[in-house]
């Protein structure tokens, strides 16, 4: 049995091949949901509303790739995996907010924030990896994110800029999970965790320092490893001025409060863990923190 599978069994999970249904987000900055659904229906595309994702639809059937359609090119829709639509929903950005997106490429969640804000207010989007900036700019342009200013820099250095935000999204760099990549289990080892968790802690500490009192920080990953998820939130609750509150999500399970012999702070249960075999999504983790 693979080392990952052994670990998942210890924490109530397992590895089951999951065939993801393609999912899209309708970009209501550019088109009404009903209008797009009718337009695609005329081309033979069958969409089904995802009940727990605002603006999210599963593509039940289509004779062509929606990622290569006029509707995609015009920014009426964007392919976005169901689980990946949830962090912004938990953040719940509103018109007039000041939002920081700390690991913004490829810009799909940034544009989702613009959509929720109806392009009113300010988003500072930051991406450290220079090679991912072009893709981010393309998406921000295509999806009509007009209230965003984006930088190619390290989000942990933003403290020097003397900015504060009332909402922060940290969709942290992580190990990923086995669902989208059939070779994932062979490519990754547990040795990666140490480096990843150092980065995740540094980014989360920076997020807390940039967040206003009573402001919201959403931490998410597409990892199933407790070290990148519940352990990070447990560490934050013990060392940073934050509390962990309910995400409001109905999909997924409560976060783990113990794993691999380690007992975690009770409020970590307010986080949400999505096991692919249960949710038919990619693996995902979301936590909502409030700055004290």
């Amino acid at each position: 049995m693979n080392a990952f599978e052994q670990r998942y069994r210890q924490i109530g999970g397992k590895i089951v091949p999951v065939v993801l249904k393609p999912a899209i987000r309708v970009n209501t900055l550019k088109i009404d949901e009903q209008q797009l659904a009718e337009r695609l229906a005329a081309k033979g595309v069958v969409l089904k509303k995802i009940p727990f994702a605002k603006h999210g639809y599963a593509v039940e059937s289509s004779k062509f790739s929606l990622g290569a359609s006029v509707e995609y090119l015009k920014g009426y829709l964007t392919p976005q995996e169901t689980a990946a639509q949830l962090p912004v929903q938990v953040l719940d950005p509103q018109p007039g907010d000041r939002v920081l997106d700390m690991a913004a490429a490829p810009g799909v969640k940034t544009s989702q924030i613009s959509q929720w804000m109806q392009n009113k207010g300010t988003i500072v989007a930051v991406e450290k990896n220079n090679r991912r900036v072009v893709g981010m700019k393309n998406n921000l342009e295509r999806l009509d994110a007009q209230n965003c200013i984006a930088f190619n820099t390290d989000a942990t250095k933003l403290k020097e800029w003397k900015l504060t935000f009332n909402k922060i999204l940290l969709d942290a760099p992580c190990m990923g999970n086995y669902v989208k990549d059939k070779d994932w289990l062979g490519k990754h080892t547990l040795n990666e965790l140490d480096r990843n968790t150092m980065t995740q802690k540094a980014l989360l500490a920076a997020a807390v320092s940039l967040c206003e009192k009573n402001g919201t920080i959403v931490y998410s990953t597409c990892s199933l490893e407790p070290e990148e998820n519940e352990f990070i939130i447990d560490w934050a609750l013990r060392t940073l001025p934050v509390r962990c509150v309910s995400t409001g999500l109905t999909i997924g399970k409560e976060g783990l409060t113990q794993a691999f012999g380690k007992r975690l702070t009770a409020d970590v249960k307010n986080t949400r863990r999505l096991w692919p075999h249960e949710t038919q999504t990619e693996g995902f983790f979301v936590a909502k923190l409030v700055r004290q």
């Binding site: 090119l73 989007a125 700019k137 921000l140 342009e141 295509r142 209230n147 965003c148």
Partner: protein, 154 residues
């Protein structure tokens, strides 16, 4: 350059000059709050507000928002094509005159025209011979399929 580009289509004031922010060889239309933030911060942004276009060699590659502004104008010259010809156009092909279903503002030889599929602007091209020439074509100068080509290159 940006203004020359717009004038090829219309003499209307489609973009508020004071809102325009030049970032290297790219132009953006920026709301005041972001404009100030962009000026005050110690690092140059890589993207801000609404992307209008970028310079490529001696041409302007327009942003989608600028194309949509031009398309919303009643004064710009347009040709309307059906779905199939529209898709061929976004794949980089020219528009055959025989595929043009309708026109607005009487495009003539030498004009730059917006290529429309219903209400969607797909790009623009140059009318190389009079539209009455059934064998002629509108030369593709830019189409929004550029997004897919950029992604592949990236």
């Amino acid at each position: 350059m940006m203004w020359d580009f717009i004038e090829r289509f219309t003499n209307e004031n489609l973009v508020d000059e004071e809102s325009v922010f030049q970032l290297g060889e790219e132009w953006y239309s920026v709301p005041k709050s972001l404009f100030k933030l962009g000026k005050d911060l110690p690092r140059h942004p890589v993207f801000v507000g609404t992307f209008l276009g970028r310079k490529k060699n001696n041409y302007i590659v327009p942003g989608v928002a600028l194309l949509d502004l031009l398309a919303a104008s009643k004064k710009t010259k347009k040709v309307f094509v059906a779905d199939k010809a529209g898709w061929l156009f976004v794949c980089g092909k020219n528009v055959l005159h025989s595929s043009v279903q309708n026109v607005e503002n009487a495009p003539q030889k030498g004009d730059w025209v917006l290529v429309m599929q219903s209400e969607d602007c797909l790009g623009f091209g140059e009318v190389e011979t009079e539209l009455s020439d059934a064998k002629g074509a509108i030369k593709n100068l830019f189409d929004i399929g550029d997004f897919l080509r950029r992604e592949r290159k990236n």
